[in-house]
């Protein structure tokens, strides 16, 4: 088993004192951004990114990914204790988590959430361990047309399966590509889309966009909802924790099903949020205890949590082996990889073995660290939530401002961040999805390069996207996904108009 050997080698990299310390710091910071409204995993990771430029890539990715695990866990804490989702992906956890905690079973709710989250993450990492290298192997044979087709498929799946109104998803995506094109064109050297602002020649950093879209946008939404933290008791009863964890295997089927949904949604870029909602919906529909959902049913916590973490983890699979991130946070990490001088994609598995397997091994360790730390720190972070929002909000705003500035010491970036903040607010308010926008900003250049190289190969003929079985299948699958919402709508109209016709 080649993978197991590589993984064991990865452990020797991940389990060193400095890296364990980084995991600790990353997870704690992650829980912090996960708990605080307005700060989430994508902008938490982007805030930290400029500070990693001086680090070894493997240390930097361990720090950032640990922060991601921490944020995923932190988001569930506030969902359960305060009925306030700290992350969009933990919204579905509030449905049954908060009622259970309100009934005086806060420890049970938290332990159920963390236990199933850890299981979801574990399935995701195991999947990466055994599949990522193989996918990369396959992808090595890809040429520019195949790459463009994979990008096309990824983006089509946002439109077809993302759940948001398709024209809005399309606006989000295409606007992201246009933003990615701003600045110097790497192929011809000509300056594009600067609209007369000279400073834009360097382009717009995805960090600035994320800081505005997620950070400022989220703050504006939170202030509107007037977050009122009315906590239930956050005391942890350790015996209850172990009892709950030992009890989890009873829900084996729900765990496996939710992990499968999560992995699928993570690899195809549906993302953790869509995964957790879908998993909750399916659990509610098929559970014999369906009527108890929404009143503190254990499976109502297990399903979204397992899927959330399985999706969050497996979102790194396509990022590592194909160079296509499966979630907004994975997109930010991939942006980091490119800044550190690595080339995300199949070559990573050949050229950067230590990096890849160090990261994968750290995912096993990091998630264990995260579960332990989150349980230990629940009371501290719960206390943090009692600080009034009007104090937290300006502090988060200052952090985002400084974060945007520190990307390239540019004041224009701060102004841009403010603009992105307004866009983020409007988009969230009107259910335009933000993840495709960020993904497109990060991989826009790569997608464009693939397109242009493919066109060069074919001397300008689009027929190259139908030149062999693989690329044709990918393109056709993409087109099918694009048409899916339309087909569903027609089918829906057909079924709903039928009674009238009768």
């Amino acid at each position: 088993m080649d993978n197991v050997e590589s993984l064991l080698h990865g452990f020797t990299i991940a389990i060193t004192l400095p890296h364990l310390a980084l995991m600790l710091v990353g997870v704690l910071l992650g829980i912090l951004v996960g708990v605080l409204p307005g700060l989430g995993a994508p902008n938490g990771v982007s805030l930290l990114l400029p500070l990693t430029f001086g680090m070894q890539p493997v240390s930097a990715i361990i720090l950032l990914s640990s922060m991601y695990w921490g944020a995923l866990f932190g988001g569930s804490v506030t969902s359960i204790l305060f009925n306030i989702p700290g992350e969009p992906s933990s919204v579905a956890t509030t449905f049954d988590g908060y009622p259970m905690a309100r009934d005086g079973r806060a420890t049970t709710a938290l332990a159920t959430a963390f236990g199933s989250a850890a299981f979801g993450a574990l399935v995701g990492v195991v999947l990466i361990t055994f599949l990522a290298a193989w996918v990369a192997q396959v992808a090595l044979a890809f040429g520019p047309p195949e790459y463009f087709a994979v990008y096309f498929l990824a983006f089509a799946s946002f439109v077809g399966m993302g759940g948001a109104p398709p024209p809005k998803t399309v606006v989000s995506l295409a606007a992201g590509f246009a933003i990615a094109a701003i600045g110097i064109d790497t192929v011809s050297g000509s300056v594009r889309l600067t609209m007369g602002i000279d400073e834009l020649v360097k382009g717009i950093s995805f960090v600035v966009a994320v800081m505005g879209l997620f950070g400022i946008g989220e703050l504006l939404l939170a202030v509107e909802e007037e977050v009122q933290a009315k906590a239930v008791s956050s005391r942890i009863d350790w015996r209850e924790v172990f009892r709950t964890l030992l009890d989890l295997p009873r829900h084996g089927w729900a765990l496996l099903r939710s992990a499968a949904i999560g992995c699928w949604m993570g690899i195809t870029p549906g993302g953790p949020t869509a995964a957790s909602f879908m998993s909750y919906g399916i659990a509610k529909r098929f559970s014999p205890r369906s009527a108890r959902f929404g009143q503190g049913e254990a499976e109502g916590i297990i399903s979204p949590e397992t899927a959330d973490h399985a999706a969050g983890t497996s979102a790194l699979l396509p990022m590592l082996s194909l160079g296509i991130p499966g979630s907004a946070t994975a997109a930010v990490m991939m942006g980091g990889l490119m800044i550190w001088g690595l080339n995300p994609g199949p070559m990573l598995f050949i050229e950067q073995k230590d990096f890849v397997w160090g990261l994968i091994a750290s995912m096993y360790v990091g998630n264990i660290v995260a579960v332990v730390l989150v349980l230990l720190t629940v009371p501290i972070f719960a206390a943090l939530m009692r600080i009034p929002f009007f104090i937290i909000a300006p502090l988060i705003f200052i952090i985002c401002t400084v974060g945007a500035y520190s990307v390239s010491n540019s004041y224009l970036d701060v102004v841009l961040m403010l603009g992105f903040g307004i866009v983020g607010y409007l988009f969230k308010k009107l259910s335009y999805p933000l993840a495709p926008l960020v993904l497109a900003i990060v991989i826009g250049d790569k997608a464009e390069d693939a397109f242009r190289q493919a066109m060069l190969m074919s001397k300008g003929s689009l027929a190259i996207f139908f030149s062999n079985a693989l690329v044709t299948t990918l393109v056709l699958a993409g087109i099918a996904l694009l048409l899916l919402p339309l087909v569903l709508q027609v089918a829906h109209m057909h079924t709903t108009t039928k009674p009238v016709l009768d």
């Binding site: 500070l51 024209p167 007037e226 200052i398």
Partner: protein, 155 residues
């Protein structure tokens, strides 16, 4: 009060204008196929066009929306109370620098806007720039803007 319809129309107009600007700007870069390959403007031109068309669709859909409130007047007050001081803070940075601006911003928001106790507001307002200085300038050696004021004072 802002209706959902108004919000949808504004956003669609915003994205549509962006799309149109991208289309026009890309045409200047040249679109289509030349001996050197795909021209620099082609890809942005296509994305701009897609943004424009989808925005027009959203505009149409938004126009059909009913006038139900999306942002109530109390929501709007909250939004302005958060955004206006924040925008002033950003505008003040080139002039007085991040450190002074962040202190004033915190003090103003807490003490004046939310009538939080003055000693505590002062404490938080003083601690923020100190923390920023220690983390960024000391630990990570990122220089934050000191502003025109600092230049005058000779820092």
């Amino acid at each position: 009060m802002i209706s959902r319809r108004a919000l949808e129309l504004t956003t669609a107009t915003l994205t549509g204008t962006f799309g149109a600007a991208v289309v026009i700007s890309s045409i200047e870069n040249g679109i289509g196929w030349s001996t050197a390959g795909v021209d620099a403007g082609t890809f942005p031109f296509l994305t701009g066009l897609i943004v424009l068309v989808a925005s027009l669709w959203n505009l149409g859909r938004g126009w059909l929306e009913n006038g139900a409130a999306a942002v109530s007047s109390s929501d709007l007050r909250h939004l302005i109370a958060l955004f206006a001081p924040a925008a002033v803070f950003v505008a003040a940075i080139p002039l007085i620098g991040v450190y002074v601006a962040s202190g004033c911003y915190i003090l103003g928001t807490l003490a004046l806007l939310h009538r939080f106790s003055l000693p505590r507001s002062l404490l938080i307002a003083a601690a923020t720039p100190v923390a920023l200085y220690l983390v960024f300038e000391r630990m990570f050696q990122v220089s934050l803007p000191h502003g025109a004021l600092a230049d005058v004072l000779g820092f």
